[in-house]
């Protein structure tokens, strides 16, 4: 069976000309034009797009549809009518009332909410070509309209430019607007009209004839995917991940310059995550913010030898404060996620919200504060006598990676943190190494980290439960019992985690011995001219 085909017509073709041709020469019957609104949704870091999927919410003739399809494939993998608009609120796969949608979205989204990315508005006129029984044999729709980018997904470098002081942002009154607020200030961009021809099963021949006629008469040629078209027209960079901290570094550039680039990118990531953190859209914002802060802390720490201690002391303190809060609120989220069905846990809700507010306040303080600018200034003008920053970035990165490997191999409570830091460092510094140099290490690290996270979530929860329980002495006994039960399960999980930690250390020990020499002397990359 043939699939629907979307085409655009020769430039200059008017819709009235096409309408007349379809009705008179092609013999189609037309329905009155309908207003069509489509909103394309994705997780904040574009997970659906990276999996080659599109989620679109459509409002047509009073009916609301949510469908998931593959990019460049007009037929839906799964679609279902939805009772409410998913545009004005965060939509997690768990709140969708349809098991099939959940099944498709759960994997790529990983529990993250869908947010509005691009809105399109316009009209759709539908035609049908019928046989002698008055049954449709081909359906045609002509869509024209405009696209608007959702406010959340502004340019990736929405934060202050490197070296420029940021404007202070009062909590709750930020310059970024909530996605789907209905007051999107982005300008609309006109889209080319698209003709979609849908075959009816058993009548493929008529479909082919009509397509041929359109090609001859109007120079029809395949149209890009509606989502791709709308997104590109609205100026959205597809596949961009606001949390991606990877930067392009040159092996020969001075180490201090590499640190400056990494910190600048980290700052952009932090700014990009700020609106999501403030508006309580998605757990992903918080987790990625936590990761970005941790990377910043690691980079500042290992850059210590290039800068005067007084320059980085303040920033280190700010980062530590923010990291502590994001850790706490993330752990509370784990508790809520694990025991979310227990009604008494509603008591934890306000605590989480308060911690979020605190994290946002600290983030704004950090990025607008004097400490951050002091470090940036120090990186731009290193203090005299600090020669370490003049070394090539490759040498500095190798030393940092080997140090991180060493720390990871020391059994103890800090190993998990060291392993996570090692993973972050590899991701950030990967561009300094020839392709494949770190591949094996990354491959080995990934499952270890995954296994450890699985069990250590339990461990973290146990710590959080203990801390939260201590702060909730006057809370309902039922809450304490629920938390206590979970802590017991978490302790069992923690024993397993330690087993995996020992396995991880054995594997990494092997890496350290084999790769120390190689990491210390990375080859210069060859770049195409």
């Amino acid at each position: 069976m043939l699939a629907p085909v979307a085409v655009i017509l020769r430039p200059g073709t008017s819709l009235s000309e096409l309408d007349e041709w379809l009705r008179t020469e092609a013999g189609c019957r037309a329905s009155p034009p309908s207003r069509l609104t489509r909103t394309y949704l994705d997780t904040f870091d574009g997970a659906l797009f990276r999996h080659g999927l599109v989620a679109e919410y459509e409002l047509l003739e009073g009916r609301r549809w949510l469908r998931v399809r593959r990019i460049d494939d007009t037929s839906a993998l799964v679609q279902a009518p939805v009772a409410r608009s998913p545009v004005d609120q965060r939509v997690g796969p768990e709140v969708l009332g349809d098991g099939r949608l959940r099944a498709v979205l759960d994997g790529p989204c990983g529990g993250r909410a869908l947010l509005a990315m691009v809105h399109t508005e316009g009209t759709q006129r539908r035609y049908r070509l019928a046989d002698e029984l008055d049954k449709a044999v081909v359906r045609v729709s002509v869509t024209a309209g405009s696209a608007t980018r959702a406010a959340l997904f502004g340019p990736a470098d929405a934060g202050p430019a490197d070296g420029q002081p940021a404007q202070p942002v009062a909590a709750g009154t930020g310059r970024r607007r909530r996605a789907g607020s209905g007051q999107d200030p982005s300008p609309s961009h006109v889209l080319d009209p698209v003709v979609t021809i849908s075959p009816v099963r058993g009548h493929d021949q008529v479909f082919n004839q009509l397509l041929d006629l359109l090609t001859v008469r109007f120079g029809a040629r395949p149209a890009a995917d509606p989502f791709r078209r709308a997104a590109v027209t609205a100026g959205l960079t597809l596949g961009s991940n606001p949390s991606n901290r990877t930067v392009a570094l040159e092996p020969d550039q001075p180490a201090i310059e590499a640190v400056r680039v990494i910190l600048a990118r980290t700052a952009q990531v932090l700014w990009a995550l700020d609106p999501g953190l403030r508006a309580d859209w998605d757990e992903g914002f918080l987790n990625d913010l936590h990761g970005a802060v941790r990377t910043a802390q690691t980079v500042v720490r290992i850059a210590g030898e290039m800068l005067a201690r007084r320059d980085i002391a303040g920033l280190n303190a700010d980062l530590a404060a923010l990291l502590a809060v994001t850790s706490r609120v993330r752990d509370l989220n784990v508790v809520l996620g694990s025991l979310g069905h227990d009604p008494v846990l509603a008591a934890l809700g306000p605590t989480v919200l308060a911690q979020r507010e605190e994290a946002h306040r600290l983030l704004v303080t950090l990025l607008d504060g004097r400490q951050w600018h002091q470090v940036r200034g120090a990186l731009a003008n290193p203090p005299p006598g600090q020669d370490a920053g003049k070394h090539p970035a490759s040498a500095w990165a190798s030393a940092a990676l080997i140090a991180a490997l060493e720390r990871s191999c020391r059994p103890g409570p800090g190993s998990l943190h060291a392993l996570t830091t090692l993973g972050d460092l590899i991701a950030v510094l990967a561009s300094l190494y020839p392709a494949g140099a770190l591949h094996r290490l990354q491959q080995d690290l990934e499952p270890i980290l995954w296994q450890l996270r699985q069990y250590c979530e339990g461990l973290m929860t146990a710590w959080t439960v203990t801390a939260t329980g201590a702060g909730l002495v006057d809370a309902e006994p039922a809450l304490l019992i629920a938390l206590g039960g979970h802590a017991e399960r978490a302790r069992t999980g923690a024993q397993l985690a330690m087993t995996h930690l020992i396995e991880a250390i054995t594997v990494l020990d092997g890496h350290r011995d084999r790769h120390t020499k190689r990491l210390a002397q990375p080859r210069a990359r060859t770049r195409p001219p």
């Binding site: 279902a80 349809d98 099939r100 049954k135």
Partner: protein, 253 residues
């Protein structure tokens, strides 16, 4: 892919109307649905404006040479396709009897349909309790059984239970619903009360006796299209929702 067979060995109980309207509801909820008209009278095929002709006749179901996917036709409703009926289906029992695996022929066709990308297949069954019925029981996941609340119609339910009890391996689930109900009749009310007390597979939804359903023959469209706000259309919508809620499709409630 789920297979729903609308079955009752008694004729005139509303099987075809239920199959067509459930097919429409399923398509409206985004399921790619195939309505398979196994009744040689071809009423479902007629309702959906599809020619009453199946290329290859009954051989399409008994030999591997005929690809069943080539016989499917689109309907006027987006998302709902039809495997049309044919006069030759009158002899389908004979064809099955002469073939190998005489009681699992339809299951083999269903396996082929599984490759066509449908979420749901609804079979409009002929009023029969012969070999074709055995094939239907073997192929279907759920038997949706319309019952007119009258003595003779309810009696056929007992026959169905007996037939299902003899199946040794795969047994479909059943959902009985009352069809063509006239609430003014004492008999209808009493039969419904009694049957609900005896069985736990009786749907809450009741399809009323309505002229809109009879008018499907002139409109040649499901009541959800011709009279979307009529009580009959609402009832079929409710029946679909109940099927979903009871977990008879892959859709979570």
């Amino acid at each position: 892919m789920n297979v729903l067979a609308v079955y009752n060995s008694k004729g005139g109980v509303g099987k075809t109307a239920a199959a067509v309207n459930l097919g429409h509801e399923a398509a409206q909820h985004g399921h790619r649905t195939l309505l398979w008209d196994l009744d040689p009278q071809g009423a479902a095929t007629f309702y959906l404006r599809v020619p009453h002709h199946l290329r290859g006749g009954t051989r399409a179901f008994t030999t591997k040479r005929h690809h069943i996917g080539d016989r499917i036709l689109g309907s006027d409703i987006e998302g709902l396709d039809v495997l049309p009926s044919d006069q030759e289906l009158r002899h389908i029992d004979v064809a099955f009897d002469a073939a190998k695996h005489r009681t699992s022929r339809l299951r083999r066709v269903v396996e082929e349909l599984n490759t066509q990308g449908y979420d749901l297949v609804i079979i409009d069954c002929p009023p029969s309790s012969s070999l074709v019925a055995e094939n239907i029981f073997d192929a279907a996941d759920v038997l949706v059984v319309p019952v007119v609340p009258s003595t003779l119609s309810v009696r056929t339910l007992g026959h169905l239970d007996d037939a299902l009890a003899t199946m040794s391996n795969r047994r479909p689930e059943t959902l009985v619903f009352f069809s063509m109900v006239d609430g003014r009749k004492n008999l209808h009310r009493e039969v419904m009360t009694e049957l609900r007390a005896r069985r736990d597979d009786v749907a809450v939804t009741v399809i009323p006796s309505a002229s809109e359903v009879e008018l499907m023959g002139t409109q040649r469209a499901p009541v959800g299209v011709s009279s979307p706000s009529s009580p009959a259309a609402r009832a079929y919508r409710g029946l679909w929702a109940e099927l979903v809620a009871r977990g008879y499709t892959d859709v979570a409630p």
